[in-house]
């Protein structure tokens, strides 16, 4: 730690005169080096794309619920050639772009970009990220990726239409011609680079810039989640980048890395399965990249609002670490149907199911945190409990898909769609909302309306359960994914009824997000002014004044307590929390 301390003094001594208070509009809001401003940039970028992606899901659900009917109001503007009916090629583009946008341009920027940038320096007692320039570059490269992706929606022959997994050989120029998919690859490439920059920055910052006394055991679980996410990002995005680069060369320069000899133009032998390996080596850790920060935050929030220490916090962190390790060696369960060697399927099944052990540990720790607590149902707490429930059912149904017999039955069905939405989409979305409701007072200095937040929660959570549990039912009934009109198959005709209810729930959930948007912008302007510590929580970010000054901490704090020291018996009745920076005899450990 002493080494750390001197390093930090050195760094911040420079930092103080390197960039003081920015003065011009551009240096303050556009090319900003301040992690708090970059966090907000990521937030608005992510909100824009989340709206686009969510609207696409509404179109998708419309096509499934009302096949052959014109989409109301804006349909004739979007699809003029078919009088507002969503045509099959547009449908294919819609679900491709919905998946891509939600994963890479909505959840990643908000959950990792915004909350990572905002929380890491504030929660570890640093004045900024270790590499502020890299941080700025990371946002603007993400932005460039967003611009390319947006442009790809308007090119001739349309946007990418091969599914977010972008499997060759469908992704080759012969079967998906035009610029759409090439731009898609370039955009993901840019986005991936931005993620690597961010990841390196997060890892370096968390390792080097922790305040004195902030040992691993005293680190909030949020930071643990963000750290492990960054590690996975730094390790596995390069694999995706390599896979996509080869695909781009196949598309544009006539190579045949992924083309079998029979169909390649130059007769050399490639293999489409190679791409699937490269993609899922990245793709399976990616779901943990997206969910780990949410797990960390939920673990913290459950403790904060039960007003008691996080149950078995060390074991929770240990469970996160072991899941991170396991997540790197289980990707094969995405490929059981490709004719994989039967020896490998058994190994991948075993490794996949082993994930349930650490998952069980942190799940029970979450319930243990609630046990005998003093639970306050604030909006972050409600959303956190929502994560526990949605991830509960989503994670458990992973058993069906990890095992070979049921995987052969359910692969590529709506069961999979329901499962992965509940785990990595909905659970991380609700986790993101919990985090935004929790840190909004620190970010913008105002409180969000609790009443609207609760309406938002219930009108999102209940429809979400209907949507995705309904999808799992449809999947077991045989409905396969990515089909424009399931009712082409007679054995799926009776699912129209179910699909219609799922869609109605989806429209309700979409509408409910406008409550959040209204709450966000209204409270930003006219909300109740938040104090510096409205939730009465002891982590370091709440020791700073609100609004947070550019350099966060006038004096780098010294940390004496863990992040979850609530209701300590020695505290007496006057209050139930201690700041991490308070030194109380008998409770704290000296630096």
């Amino acid at each position: 730690m002493s080494d750390n301390k001197s390093f930090q003094d050195l760094f911040h001594a420079h930092d103080d005169h390197l960039h003081g208070e920015p003065t011009s509009f551009i240096s303050k809001y556009i090319i900003s080096y301040d992690h708090k401003v970059i966090a907000k940039q990521f937030l608005f970028f992510g909100l824009f794309w989340a709206f686009v992606g969510a609207f696409m899901s509404v179109l998708i659900r419309w096509a499934l619920a009302f096949p052959g009917k014109a989409f109301p109001i804006v349909g004739s503007l979007l699809f003029p050639h078919t009088d507002g009916v969503i045509p099959p090629d547009a449908y294919t583009m819609l679900f491709t772009m919905h998946g891509t946008i939600m994963i890479f341009f909505a959840i990643t920027p908000i959950l990792i970009g915004t909350l990572g940038n905002f929380c890491i320096p504030l929660m570890i007692g640093a004045r900024d990220m270790l590499f502020p320039w890299l941080n700025m570059a990371s946002f603007w490269m993400t932005f460039a990726g967003g611009v390319v992706m947006f442009a790809s929606l308007f090119v001739p022959l349309g946007a990418s239409a091969v599914g977010w997994t972008s499997y060759p050989t469908l992704a080759h120029a012969q079967w998906s011609p035009g610029w759409g998919h090439s731009l898609w690859i370039i955009s993901i490439f840019l986005m991936g680079n931005a993620s690597i920059m961010g990841a390196i920055n997060y890892i370096a910052t968390i390792i080097r810039l922790r305040a004195p006394g902030l040992t691993a055991a005293k680190l909030p679980l949020t930071i643990w989640g963000l750290l492990l996410t960054a590690v996975l990002n730094a390790l596995f995005i390069p694999v995706l980048a390599a896979g996509l680069l080869l695909l781009l060369m196949d598309r544009m320069f006539g190579t045949s890395f992924y083309l079998a000899a029979a169909i390649s133009q130059n007769g050399t032998q490639g293999d489409p399965i190679l791409y699937q390996h490269l993609f899922w080596i990245f793709g399976h850790p990616e779901v943990y990249i997206i969910i780990l920060p949410a797990w960390g935050m939920v673990s913290d929030f459950l403790s904060f609002f039960s007003r008691k220490p996080a149950f078995g916090a060390k074991w929770t962190a240990g469970a996160f670490i072991s899941i991170t390790l396991l997540s790197t060696v289980v990707y094969g369960h995405h490929m059981f149907t490709t004719g994989m060697s039967p020896l490998l399927t058994g190994a991948f099944t075993t490794l996949t199911l082993l994930i349930s052990i650490p998952s069980g540990i942190f799940f029970l720790n979450w319930l243990g945190t609630l046990w005998r607590g003093n639970i306050q149902f604030t909006s972050p707490m409600l959303f956190s409990l929502g994560v526990v429930i949605t991830f509960g059912i989503g994670g458990l149904t992973g058993l069906h898909l990890g095992a070979v017999p049921t995987n052969l039955l359910l692969h590529n069905s709506y069961f999979v769609v329901g499962h992965f939405h509940l785990t990595m989409a909905v659970a991380s979305l609700l986790g993101t909302y919990a985090a935004v409701y929790f840190w909004f007072p620190k970010m913008f200095g105002k409180m969000l309306s609790e009443k609207l937040a609760k309406i938002h929660f219930w009108t999102s959570f209940l429809p979400i359960m209907v949507i995705f549990v309904g999808m799992m039912v449809a999947g077991y009934a045989g409905m396969h994914r990515r089909i424009y009109n399931p009712y082409e198959y007679t054995y799926l005709e009776h699912l129209l009824f179910l699909n219609r209810y799922i869609s109605l729930a989806a429209f309700l959930a979409f509408a409910s997000q406008f409550i959040f948007l209204f709450n966000f912008f209204y409270s930003w302007k006219k909300g109740e002014v938040a104090g510096s510590n409205p939730w009465k929580v002891g982590t370091l970010e709440w020791t700073t004044p609100t609004p947070v000054p550019v350099h966060n901490f006038d004096v780098i704090p010294e940390v004496f307590n863990g992040p979850h020291e609530f209701s300590h018996p020695k505290l007496g009745d006057s209050r139930d929390w201690i700041s991490q920076t308070e030194y109380l005899e008998g409770i704290s450990t000296p630096v």
Binding site: P67, G68, T92, Y167, T169, L170, Q174, W175, A260, A261, A262, I263, P272, I273, R307, K308, P309, F311, G312, T337, T338, G339, G346, T349, I357, G360, L364, L367, W371, R372, I375, Q376, V388, G392, L399, H400, G402, A403, P405, T406, L408, L409, H411, N412, A477, N485, P486, Y487, E488, T490, Y491, H494, L496, F497, L498, R500, F566, S567, H568, D573
Partner: protein, 298 residues
């Protein structure tokens, strides 16, 4: 006032769903008139809405193979287990949330260290044994039983399948028992198999990746260009069943539907003989599109 509002809203939702249901049925039937000709909707499928329990209505299509029921059993076991553990989570969240909700004067119980870990460990081990070990056992066991040993012998009906955008091509050996000869039977979108015989398929895609599945058979395999995939099963019930493409393969993926006709042994032999003779008679050496077979091999 509130009750009235709720009632109006609920009836609107129901009207939206049911009101247009009749039209949709007509529209759906118009969309694929060929279904009427082939009479698929009467074979192995379920009747109109109503008269069934929820589980019956939303279960998968009828199982028609010897071992298909096993997949349903594993699914059922896992699903009940998942349901029990999920209910435990829900009771934990809702129950603790209710029991320990904030009240004036309540102070939370301060926990630290690992004193209460035993409960966690016991539950975790229980979960591991009941769910994980069961599934790992069946994954390995089923792999051995269904995926390792390709059925062979004169009794086995061997078929080569080559999907392309957006059609299923099937090839039978014909009378001479060898693939890639003039008497091969080549069909499009229609696969005939005899009832009660082991059927073994080799699948290779012509262009993009497709997925072969007959939902009534309960198993699927990907069709990949440049690589032979295998699947085998024993149908035990006559009827016409739909073959679905499970893998996104382009714009018309949703229309890539084939039919599997399970017929009596004698009917199959007649059909096979007639078709083989007809193929040999009509064989055109210049029609390159029909010469796509490969050596069977193992």
């Amino acid at each position: 006032m509130n009750q009235k509002l709720v009632r109006i809203l609920l009836s609107l939702v129901f009207l939206m769903s049911f009101g247009s249901m009749a039209n949709d049925r007509e529209m759906l039937n118009k969309q694929h008139p060929e279904a009427d000709q082939l009479q698929v909707h009467t074979l192995g499928q379920r009747p109109e809405y109503g008269g069934e329990s929820f589980l019956e209505r939303y279960g998968p299509p009828e199982n028609i193979t010897e071992h298909g029921g096993h997949f349903d059993d594993v699914f059922a076991y896992v699903s009940w287990g998942v349901l029990i553990f999920f209910l435990a989570v829900v009771f934990g969240v809702v129950g603790f949330g209710w029991m320990y909700r904030s009240k004036p004067g309540r102070k939370a119980f301060y926990t630290t260290g690992l004193a209460e870990k035993k409960f966690t460990m016991v539950l975790d081990i229980l979960f591991f044994i009941t769910m994980d070990c069961y599934l790992i056992y069946f994954s390995v066991y089923d792999t051995k039983r269904f995926l390792m040993t390709v059925p062979q012998g004169p009794e086995v009906v061997e078929i080569q399948v080559m999907p392309q955008q957006w059609v299923w091509n099937f090839r039978y050996k014909g009378a001479d028992g060898v693939f890639n000869t003039p008497d091969d039977i080549v069909t499009v979108n229609e696969m005939w198999v005899p009832n009660g015989k082991q059927v073994s398929l080799q699948i290779k895609s012509k262009d993009v990746i497709h997925g072969f599945m007959v939902p009534n058979v309960r198993r699927q395999v990907d069709a990949i260009p440049g690589q032979v995939s295998r699947i085998w099963f024993k149908p035990i019930k006559d009827g016409t069943y739909e073959i679905a493409c499970m893998h996104l393969c382009g714009t018309a993926h949703y229309k890539m539907k084939g039919f599997m006709k399970v017929v009596d042994e004698s009917d199959y032999q007649n059909w096979s003989r007639e078709m083989s003779e007809w193929s040999a008679a009509k064989y055109d050496p210049d029609d390159a599109r029909t010469h796509w077979g490969w050596q069977w091999g193992i």
